[in-house]
């Protein structure tokens, strides 16, 4: 089977379905089947105790997405509270460097500073609709935790955020933000005391509290329906950008690009373009010190198939199936798994994935700051670095007028401690701390 065939034969139906069922849960060629499978990836590899809750969530979400009242309330909150739609900005200086016209989708301008707000507002509104009063969330750097605490404050829900103890120490500011917003932050000491262990602990909470509690999962990964559910709330990124691009340029971009941690911002951008066979789709994973070292978080480029956190997907594990710790300067990308839809898009060749090293990402961050006056999140800087590699290839194929749409998933305020150390911006730190020392580096 060639992917192109599948894509082109299903384009019409999928697009029609997208508009008619624009009001329901999407069922395009690239979406999961009813059991949550994207080809060979996805599913529900979880304790039986959680099956009922995931079923309940699947039904509630499907009904909500078909309910005009739910969707218009979510739309309104998105517009009035979160700042949607985010602007599309043609970055002229960056375009010059990349050799093509680079369009930045400005998710950094949204409330709480990243695309994550789209996901949590959707999930929190769904929680209210289900009559639950408490939400739990996991967080790495604290971005999803802050977004969850924000949505909980907005909708009047109790909120508990699990965060690896290593991360609570590194991210004291975000811990303070979550507490100020009224959330309880629980440091997780088990395992490697980072994001994957925070997810384990949130799942343990959920097994015991599932009647009154909703788990706001932070990315498009985990057991069905989370990958599809999170996609349904972040796909506005691509839907908006596609319309903005068509309106302004009268044509689709030649390529779209995003960073990939768990995959929520990337799938949010990609979804609108998957049925456009002429749009190339590129995801950039965290290459850490390099995919040829054992210090990276590039699960698709440098990992293998396996089961982690409820889903069959690409993961970092040793030959005994024990999860291996990931490494990235960006906490938001520092996860040894990835959403199953990305694993499927990679396996079919519909999307391409490459790794960007810490150094390449930080160079791109500095470049964007100086040339455009935008300090991106380090996660997003991976997408910028990717665009700088992709641009010349696109230019060679399509000329300098080619359009490259890049998701700027978040802003870099949260990353200033890391940037300060990396670039030696604080004279004292620069002399006493080797820049970028992996063991002391306070990740994004």
């Amino acid at each position: 089977m060639t992917t192109d065939e599948t894509t082109s034969t299903t384009t019409t139906t999928a697009t029609t379905a997208g508009t008619a069922a624009g009001l329901g849960v999407a069922h395009g060629a690239w979406d999961a089947d009813e059991n949550g499978w994207f080809g060979d990836f996805g599913g529900r590899w979880i304790p039986e105790a959680l099956v009922a809750a995931l079923e309940e969530l699947t039904v509630a979400w499907t009904e909500a997405m078909a309910d005009e009242a739910f969707r218009s309330e979510l739309d309104q909150v998105g517009r009035e509270y979160a700042g949607l739609p985010s602007p599309l900005y043609e970055a002229r200086a960056l375009s010059e460097k990349a050799g093509v016209r680079v369009l930045l989708k400005r998710e950094d301008l949204l409330h709480t500073g990243a695309h994550k707000i789209r996901n949590v507002l959707g999930q929190a509104l769904l929680t209210k609709r289900m009559g639950k009063k408490r939400v739990i969330a996991e967080t790495g750097a604290g971005q999803h935790g802050v977004a969850s605490a924000t949505a909980a404050a907005f909708f009047g829900l109790d909120c508990t955020v699990y965060m690896g103890a290593v991360d609570t120490r590194r991210q004291a500011l975000n811990v303070a933000r979550m507490r100020l917003l009224g959330a309880e932050v629980v440091p997780v000491e088990s395992g490697s005391a980072t994001l994957k262990d925070a997810i384990n602990e949130a799942m343990r909470d959920w097994v015991a509290s599932v009647d009154e509690t909703a788990y706001l999962f932070g990315t498009a990964a985990g057991p069905h329906p989370f990958p599809s559910l999170v996609q349904s709330f972040t796909r506005g990124i691509g839907d908006e950008a596609r319309a903005q691009c068509l309106e302004r340029y009268g044509r689709l971009p030649h390529a779209v690009a995003a960073c990939v941690g768990g995959g929520s911002n990337a799938i949010g951008l990609f979804t609108a373009f998957l049925d456009d066979p002429d749009v190339a789709v590129w995801g950039y994973e965290a290459g850490g010190d390099g995919v040829d070292t054992d210090r990276h978080a590039a699960t698709i480029v440098g990992g293998g198939a396996g089961v982690l956190h409820g889903s069959r997907t690409m993961i970092l594990a040793d030959s005994d199936g024990q999860t291996v710790e990931s490494h990235s300067i960006s906490a938001g990308l520092d996860y040894p798994g990835v959403g199953p839809q990305h694993a499927h898009l990679a396996a079919t060749g519909r999307a391409h994935y490459e790794a960007v090293t810490d150094t390449e990402a930080m160079d791109a961050l500095a470049l964007l700051a100086r040339s455009e006056g935008i300090i991106p999140a380090i996660e997003s800087a991976h997408a910028i670095a990717g665009a700088l590699k992709l641009g010349p290839r696109l230019a060679a194929e399509h000329g300098p007028d080619a359009l490259l749409l890049v998701n700027l998933s978040g802003r870099g305020d949260k990353d200033m401690v890391t940037a300060t150390r990396w670039f030696g911006l604080d004279p004292e730190a620069a002399t006493t701390d080797p820049v970028g020392d992996p063991d002391t580096d306070p990740r994004g």
Partner: protein
Amino acid sequence: MSAVTTGRTMADAFATAHAEDRAVLLGFLPAGFPDVETSVRAMTAMVEAGVDAIEVGLPYTDPVLDGPVIQAAAQQALDGGCRTAEVLQIVQEVAATGAPTLVMTYWNPVLAHGVERFADGLVAGGGAGLITPDLTPDHGADWIAAADERGLDKVFLVAPSSTDARVATTAQACRGFVYAAAVMGVTGARTTTSSLAGPLVARTRAATDTPVGVGLGVSNGDQAAEVASYADAVIVGSAFVRCLLDAPDTESGLAALRDTAADLAEGVRRRA
């Protein structure tokens, strides 16, 4: 054609217990905890003190269904280098006691090892089969086929939140026994047994003739007797792990383990 297991399976344990009109006592310890050698000694001591069958836990980096006690033990085992090869070796040594010996494992280590290869390893060591806390029959086709070919026990879990329909399909997929996870929550000793257990066992019995074991939370003979009054097997994990975790040295840990095992073994014979 694959070899069929010659090791004892859970059917043997239930036959003995049935003849004595009592419940089966199934005891869990993580492999390699506190180290490989001591874990074999500990499981052997449990059998000698009256535990009918052993669940050998395969230590895993991301044990989402385990509470702090078993997490800590599994971490210690991993830090000590206990991997799949060691686990299969331990199974062989424990099965040599004559007690049916199951492996309790999260699924990714089995996938990574190869489902067929794992099943062959169990057969070679005289293991009874697998208990799979994060694998439901929905995703278990490979394992079910491998177990059926070899006559291995395949134990899936039912939970208080399971619908009757799921209880039925899960129970029908089991051989050996059906594992009724009696509380909504992770593993760990609790001071009272769960009120959710009785109804769950009754719902499971309505769906199958396969024996039903109850786990999660039992820590003493009185609780064991209470559970034995309505279940075919009483499953104990954290309470055994605690004995070794809390002990100042190995010998006193093993002594505590024997006392706990004897207390529980007396409980499953009382059927309060």
